[in-house]
Amino acid sequence: MEEEAGMFRVHQTIGSVLCCKCGIPMAPNAANMCVKCLRSEVDITEGLQKHVIILHCPECDTYLQPPRTWIKAQLESKELLTFCVKRLKNLSKVKLVHAEFVWTEPHSKRIKVKLRVQKEVLNGAILEQTYIVEYVQQDHMCDSCTRVQANPDQWVAAIQLRQHVSHRRTFFYLEQLILRHDAAARAIKIKQMDQGIDFFFANRSHAVKFLEFLGKVAPIKSRHDKQLVSHDPKSNNYNYKYTFSVEICPICREDLICLPPKVVVSLGNLGPLVLCTKVSNNIILLDPSTLRHCFMDADQYWRVSFKSLLSSRQLVEYIILDVEALSSEVNVGGSKYALADAQVARVSDFGKNDKIFTIKTHLGHLLNPGDYALGYDLYGANSNDIELDKYKGFSLPDVILIRKSYEEKHQRKRGKPRHWKLKSLNMEVDSSTRGRIDEEKMYSEYEEFLKDLEENPEMRFNISLYRNKEYQHSEVASMTDGEDVPSVPLEELLADLELNDEDNDDESMKG
């Protein structure tokens, strides 16, 4: 504009002309008609849809977007607005400037959307016009709801999870893991069976996803099968029921295992007696006499599939009489161990006879004389293992200590509620299992599991603990004598999310 600095520019005032139709004075525009006359002349909404029918599923509150997608949307929400605008054909002819809902009664089955569009008419003039589109909402159940209604127990894919051991510790732990990761969100039914749990899904891909999740947290072996339910010869549609049979390896934490000779050799002469220290999707085996450890992943295990010799139900309590450290503390795969010589006696023997065992233990860093420990009584056990027989001339140690026992301390705390609690999955108990599930046994096993959680911080790693509102905090403070029983520190507890109005949001927030 600098070159015009020297020029004199007259200020131009726009005059007014009469609208060529109605004669009212107006500023001249491209059509030289006032807006009303232009509107009466040209209707830019001609040819656009004003009346649309949309299908709505009353069960799950979703709307159908043909051919097959059902979109979940609340009334007067952004998703519904996008959906409604998408359903309009021919909207590409005009430019959409604004869209909003007009309020209608919720049960009137009508949705009204006010749209503002612009289009060019008559040599350059752009005309803007608002108009209302009415959507008639017809109720029509979506496919999944129809299937659920027709047969509520109908499932398409099932996962049968089994572990052939006599306790349910793994399943308690798995339950907590599943809750933490929300892996069973798509399961339509979960059933507790003898030695396992069954999960039912409405879709094969949900089952496969869950199976993959299981593969990541436990060493499993699975096989799958399908059964034809129906067949449409015209469209060649086949409906199947898919079943996945999943078995978890029977080796659990703290199990004593006698490895078959081939495995010993393949693992580099890791002594035939090993302890299992950790089970995730791999198994970690620790040789207590040499403090060597190794990993075995699911494939490797299932190729040899050895069983455990003794499991934690057969632990016996010992009292430590003397401890002599042999080596310093070493860090073996994340946990600390120290080799030590110890003199122990069974608590059942203590005071009655003089049976004392001198053993090597890997818990030297934890034990002091006078402590109690749990261990496997190989001296008194009658092991009927094929693998053990293969080792000729192998001398079994008398006792293998597993962990320190806090039984005494727990005696004091018995009956007092914990300050944390766990959530549980919504499981159906199968009433047809020939009465094998013993209530009492289940309860004591669950207690053991909770005690386990308290004592092992690494077990708590993948689990969500919630603060117990009913717990009275004051009583614990008075108990400060001697060694503190290991307990869950308060920071690890997730306060239970209390969102009163938005209970459904709880699910999404956990994910």
């Binding site: 726009i14 005059g15 009469l18 060529c20 139709k21 004669g23 001249p28 059509a31």
Partner: protein
């Protein structure tokens, strides 16, 4: 008195005809309706001449003139020129111009006293205009358009210009032309005034799309309501309705 008519279904009658106070030129059309409308209005007063210029029918846009003369482009054939000379009254000087901008009707707008021309017209052409038409020539633009002959139509009594003309421009033009001017449209919002209507001191003709509003504007600015041809004596002493919209 403004009349509405069409030339072969087109409302742009200013393209196919030229009207001055002394004569009227009409294009040769397929049907005689166009010609007969002019005849019925003007036959007693001024000659209505059928012609073509250079074989084309868009004579309104190719020539420019007033009661004193008529300027035609170099594209006109000798025969047509002769025909014009024969048909028009003797006091009208028909002059052929050698001008690069040959659509003289688009470049020159004039009445009997003043003319507005395209700014790029030759100097000789300007002199020729002054001589033949006996007018004062002003080079102007209307609402930023160079084709003054298209975007305005004026007679000795008033004028109609392009609707987007600003008020300052309107004042300036009015001062130059010494007639009242108004910005308006013709043919239902068309901005090309001179193509949509032709006018002289007592009558005007517009395209049939012209709305009543536009017609009333035209009649008021060109003062056609009371106008009568000066050669005819008014015999209707008691006229109830002079004209109605």
């Amino acid at each position: 008195m403004a009349t509405r008519l069409q030339f072969e279904n087109s409302c742009e009658i200013g393209v196919f005809s030229k009207l001055t106070n002394a004569y009227c030129l009409v294009a040769i059309g397929g049907s005689e309706n166009f010609y007969s409308t002019f005849e019925s209005e003007l036959a007693d007063v001024i000659p209505v001449v059928k012609t073509s210029i250079g074989g084309s029918r868009i004579i309104g846009r190719l020539c420019a003139g007033n009661k004193k003369g008529l300027l035609v482009p170099h594209t006109i054939t000798d025969q047509e020129l002769q025909h014009l000379r024969n048909s028009l009254p003797d006091q009208v000087v028909v002059q052929r111009l050698d001008e690069r901008l040959s659509a003289l009707g688009n470049c020159i707008a004039c009445n009997d006293h003043v003319a507005l021309t395209h700014t790029d017209l030759d100097k000789e052409t300007e002199e020729m205009i002054t001589d033949v038409l006996g007018v004062e020539v002003f080079r102007q633009t209307i609402a930023g358009n160079l084709l003054v002959g298209s975007y305005c139509a004026f007679s000795n009594r008033g004028g109609l210009v392009h609707p987007h003309t600003s008020i300052e421009d309107l004042d300036e033009l009015s001062t130059l032309l010494q007639v009242p001017l108004v910005a308006g449209t013709v043919n239902r919002g068309s901005e090309v005034i001179a193509a949509g209507m032709i006018v002289n001191d007592w009558t005007a003709f517009c395209g049939s799309d012209t709305t009543a509003t536009e017609l009333s504007v035209i009649e008021s600015v060109f003062k056609l309501r009371e106008a009568q041809p000066t050669a005819i004596v008014d015999e209707m002493r008691k006229s109830l309705i002079d004209s109605y919209v």
